[in-house]
């Protein structure tokens, strides 16, 4: 099996999270290793969230907003 990066996605409730939701409704596929954390706005993202995810072993963090 090939290596797949573990990605923590921090998604804005109004755009990125809605888009991820829509992707689900449309039966699009995305790897199970991308896990979404919903925030009310990308403005809510503290630097600590990103650092914490990387420290705990995530290969990448995607902030969408």
């Amino acid at each position: 099996m090939s290596w797949e990066p573990k990605i923590v996605v921090i998604a804005c409730n109004w755009c990125t999270y809605a888009a991820a939701d829509l992707a689900g409704s449309l039966r699009y596929k995305y790897p199970p290793t991308a896990c979404v954390v919903r925030v009310p706005c990308s403005g809510r993202v503290e630097p600590e969230f990103i650092v914490e995810a990387l420290v705990k072993g995530a290969d990448a963090v995607l902030v969408g907003g």
């Binding site: 954390v37 009310p40 706005c41 403005g43 914490e52 705990k56």
Partner: protein
């Protein structure tokens, strides 16, 4: 309008402008500038004597400049309230006072004693009047500031400077009993009754060059003008030039069919290419007729341009005062075209009528009623429900740095004095729940309910647990 002025629950403030707004939904404080009228409205009876004796003539805005008013005037015969105002720009007294400091004229107050003409019988003239500022507290606001008719000067191809080329609004005044000709239809070039009139639609509307939108009302009022003319003067030839006829609405199609039956000629065929004056004083229209599949030329005595509906001149200024967004065409923007048609991005501020976009009277009335209901429904309960997802400051931890105050996109945070120290405070009514303040606070003094730092970190921990 008269009924509105009489209503016990409505206070009508005319000849005034909104200067500033503070506060938020339920607690707006509006500063209004009541412009100086130079006439004591308590005393003025609206008799119109001052308008007769005033020596200064000014183009009448209400009649699109086709006739003159005086420097002291009542805007139009049905004005509410029917009170006179002095236009200080043109009033001889004010003009001379500004230039030389001398007090001249004063005919409206003192009359002309040598000729036995008396001044204002009510003694209402007050030359020293000044702008007054008043503050009122309101719970919600409706913006219904209307529209402006596009100027014909933008269309050199239609000979706009020719006296017989009118905009529809000018033509409307020409037909009105209170208009410049007292309702008599005549050419402004020579005073004769026109035998042939052409109406041109979509002047400035549906055009990449000017406005891409449809002004919505022009097709119907062109047909209305045609019908009025045909019923009053059946011998006049009418040519109505359309790109295509848009008579959407209840009973509108029947109106169109009836106008055609009266003998108005409908010509469909894209935009009219040009209007040229001819040596014999008539105007030549160059167009294309889709039904004939051929270019056509018609000589007429008068041309009426259905110029576009444009946003009112103060729309942009008001949008800044009330923090309401405006669309790309310059009209106030609703939150959602279908689901929130009268709500704006500013909570507690509603919109109605042509300020929101071009529309006819039935649509304006329907939207005005919707806006009035929405505004009342918000205020009447005396309390408003908010999302629970808001920020809260712990004054114990707050270091008074003020970083959050500047960052908040909704201006919901202020520094408030608590026991001699300034502490940040979130106004829950204004907080939209973005969380920017909580992320930025260096002292971790802001708790963001629903998405606390601990909650988000716990989620990240859970996701990364199996790594």
């Amino acid at each position: 309008m008269g009924e509105v002025a009489q209503h016990p629950n409505i206070e009508l403030i005319t000849y005034a402008e909104v200067e500033d707004v503070k506060g938020y939904v339920g607690n707006f404080e509006v500063t209004i500038r009541k412009k100086a009228t130079y006439v004591d409205w308590e005393k003025c009876t609206g008799c119109g004597h001052c308008m007769e004796i005033c020596p200064t003539k000014v183009p009448d805005e209400f009649n699109c400049g086709l006739s003159n008013r005086k420097a002291i005037y009542i805007q139009f015969p049905q004005a509410v309230p029917k009170k006179a105002v002095i236009d200080p720009e043109h009033c001889l007294y004010h003009k001379t006072l500004r230039k030389t400091g001398k007090k001249v004229c004063q005919i409206c107050s003192k009359g002309i004693p040598a000729k036995g003409i008396e001044g204002c019988p009510a003694g209402a003239i007050n030359y020293d009047d000044e702008d007054k500022f008043i503050k009122i507290k309101v719970g919600s606001v409706i913006l219904a500031t209307g529209f402006k008719v596009m100027d014909k000067k933008h269309f050199p191809e239609y000979s706009p400077e020719h006296p017989d080329v009118l905009t529809s609004m000018e033509f409307e005044r020409l037909l009105s009993a209170t208009g410049p000709t007292e309702g008599k239809l005549k050419r402004l070039s020579n005073g004769e009754k026109p035998k042939k009139i052409a109406f041109i639609s979509c002047v400035g509307s549906r055009s990449e060059k000017h406005h891409t939108y449809c002004s919505k009302v022009c097709c119907m009022y062109m047909l209305k003008h045609a019908r009025i003319l045909k019923e009053k003067y059946p011998d006049i030839d009418l040519y109505l030039f359309f790109i295509d006829v848009r008579t959407v609405g209840k009973d509108f199609e029947e109106f169109y069919v009836y106008t055609k039956q009266l003998g108005a000629k409908i010509i469909r065929g894209g935009r009219v290419a040009g209007v040229e004056p001819t040596p014999d004083g008539s105007l030549r229209i160059k167009a294309y007729d889709n039904d004939l599949c051929s270019p056509i030329e018609v000589n007429v005595d008068m041309v009426v341009l259905a110029t576009a509906i444009e946003p009112g001149p103060d729309t942009e200024k008001l949008s800044k005062i009330f923090s309401v967004s405006i669309g790309k065409e310059g009209f106030f923007k609703e939150v959602h075209t279908k689901l929130y048609p009268v709500e704006t991005s500013a909570k507690g501020v509603f919109i109605a009528g042509c300020a929101q976009g071009p529309k006819d009277i039935p649509d304006s009335v329907a939207q005005a009623r919707a806006a009035a209901s929405a505004a009342a429904a918000l205020v009447i309960p005396g309390q408003i429900r908010f999302e629970a997802i808001t920020a809260e400051v712990d004054p114990e931890k707050c270091s008074s740095c003020g970083i959050c105050v500047n960052l908040c996109p909704y201006n919901a945070i202020v520094l408030e004095e608590v026991n001699g120290q300034y502490k940040a405070k979130v106004e829950a009514a204004l907080c939209a729940g973005c969380g920017t303040c909580a992320a930025a606070c260096p002292s971790r003094a802001i708790t963001f309910h629903g998405f606390t730092t601990e909650q988000v970190l716990a989620q990240i921990e859970a996701i990364t647990a199996d790594l």
